[in-house]
Amino acid sequence: MRSRSFLLLLEVSLSVDIKIAVQVEDFDVTAETARLSIFGTGGINSFTGIVRHQNDDSEVQCLRLEHYPGMTESQILAIIQDAAERWDVLGATVIHRVGDLYPGDQIVFVGVASPHRGDAFDACEFIIDYLKTRATFWKKELLPDSERWLKTRQSDVDTANAWQK
């Protein structure tokens, strides 16, 4: 297994509390949301991605994820910092799992704490949109009779690019 658990807790100049983890282990959404609530915030918005059972009409038996240790975490940090420059963000968490995952498994958590709901919603959506197209993760689907590397979806690229307008 080339992927390792990696945890980074740090303060950036924008005074945003950031937690980034790329890990094999599962995560606890309730605990992660509770951690974000300590900032005396107005609201928390979170997104949890789940491995789907079917993709492009094929039955997914296993989703194998890999990343580029070090570079991936730096890219996630840059994405969160970008979000914190656009919106009022007090705290942000990104947890992305790697290794072999199965349908129904949690795969990614994005949580944002903000004084206002609009900022929390927008920053959270921005971060997950950018994670899909601007961070070095790769997914391979294991199907009943074959396996295939997933390709970047043009719709994901278009969605992420829309934030630049």
Partner: protein, 89 residues
């Protein structure tokens, strides 16, 4: 020794059949060598088929874990990685 470490990820690793490789550079490397030239040397050293694989327009290149253009000059000791299109989230 003037060498650089090169890594291949995901589908690219399976395509070239290796996850990492060391490439020895010419003796005088003070100005560095562009990524495009690194690809030429890899094709010569390993397999001519790598030329088109690594030159594909959707393949990204990172040097020391930062994305770079193909004209970026690589220096001895650098960590070079060839990356297929990403699919996170």
């Amino acid at each position: 020794m003037n060498s650089i470490n090169i890594q291949f990820f995901a589908s690219l690793r399976e395509e070239v059949g290796k996850d990492k490789i060391s490439l020895t550079l010419p003796a005088d490397m003070s100005a560095g060598l562009p990524v495009s030239e690194i690809v030429n040397k890899l094709a010569q050293q390993e397999n001519a088929a790598w030329q088109s694989i690594l030159e594909a327009s959707d393949i990204l290149v990172a040097v020391n874990q930062t994305l770079v253009d193909r004209d970026h000059c690589v220096l001895p000791g650098d960590e070079v990685a060839f990356l297929p299109p990403v699919t996170g989230g």
